[in-house]
Symmetry: C2
Subunit: 268 residues, 2 copies
Amino acid sequence: MTAPYVHGHGAREAERLRDQADTLSALIHDGTRYPVGHAVLEAGCGTGAQTVSLARNNPGSWITSVDRAADSLALAQARVEQAGFANVTFRQADLDALPFPPASFDHVFVCFVLEHLPDPAATLAALARVLRPGGSLTVVEGDHGTVCLHPHSDAAHRAVGCLVELQRRAGGDALIGRRLHPLLTAAGFADVDVSARTVHAVGGRPGLADTFTRKTFTAMVDGVRDTAVADGLASASDFAAGVRDLDRAADTGGVFVYTFFKGTAVKP
Amino acid sequence: MTAPYVHGHGAREAERLRDQADTLSALIHDGTRYPVGHAVLEAGCGTGAQTVSLARNNPGSWITSVDRAADSLALAQARVEQAGFANVTFRQADLDALPFPPASFDHVFVCFVLEHLPDPAATLAALARVLRPGGSLTVVEGDHGTVCLHPHSDAAHRAVGCLVELQRRAGGDALIGRRLHPLLTAAGFADVDVSARTVHAVGGRPGLADTFTRKTFTAMVDGVRDTAVADGLASASDFAAGVRDLDRAADTGGVFVYTFFKGTAVKP
């Protein structure tokens, strides 16, 4: 897990993740409600974008949120404290070397994490170790191959392709959503169930067009502009055209479609 | 509306449409329930693949199903009679020249039709004419640009691209799903609402992998093989590889993802 985090850790990135969480919270967290008194591990909480939703939706659960990055963890802790939740404990840890005994948790929640890992199967095995038999695993991931926009733009798809390629070079997989089911199955989990959760953001309307199309997805692609151009993956003008076309899908008459995948499974 | 129907009218095609309807009925028809006594126009019923679901779900409605193709209409009528429904009247008609007075219907239902039309906006206007003020329009379309499969295959995407191109040459648009919202809005409808309905077909399982991935989508792509090769859009071997890879997504370990779009709107 020494791969660099492709999206960076700047302030704009923190804002992007916060926008993403606020907008997509219902889509992502629908169905994730844990019983009172259960112990939940949030594996890879980052800056706490999902932690607040987890804490809000599961006020009776004991949530432990871990991340390997101390600066992200500090931001997550501050955010959760500011939101007034007292049911979350933070701990710095690597997902492949979790400092917990076997079967420590009733549930594990992992969101937008596996996409960044060089060996997601190994990480799933590490997570299974700290999960009690009968406990549940929930995994949420996107898949940039599901991007679909109106007006269609080859340049936009090429710019998205640069992000996919850079994430691949960093050891990750931005197309991981589609293979959640085989990954969870191969990792030995039972009762694997994956649902596709598609965002349909209508341009020119308040809500998703601004918070998701523009401030989340387009901003994320734009965030790798310098690297993509420096690495020769795209010309500056082509990349700029791609970002402009993505942004245009947020305007009146435009549409942006993206599918997230949410998998649940049980440790046998 | 003189464009040729890209999928053909053979027996295999009729079976494909029947499989599609049986499998996807819940996804497509969820939310489409009309009041007792209301008059519903199904515009472009084809061989009746959706007509049976419409008739079953709306036993108290008066359904009029029209199509321009007499042979399709005969198949649709036979299918609905065999299913035992008596609330459907069939009539041969062109959607752009419907033989009904203005405001004849309380609701109009259109499924997998606009994708084949050279001027969907004109057809929407023609449908609006026969709809009473306050009446509802429901439109369902796919979008082949949403195809996402595991294992990923460039050849599969190229084969799908051949179908998209042939449909374009026939005057249609296999990527129409993404622009349902702008189309309905531009046609002057009110309360336009479009939802994305994504199929997530897990390979090797009974159900969608066989009925949708294999017998519906892959069969549909395979159906244009000869034309695509004859027209020089693909080499025979590349097209065959693409179809093989689509088919492989239906095997254990594979995944096939496809998004339909369902729009509802009201005539002001």
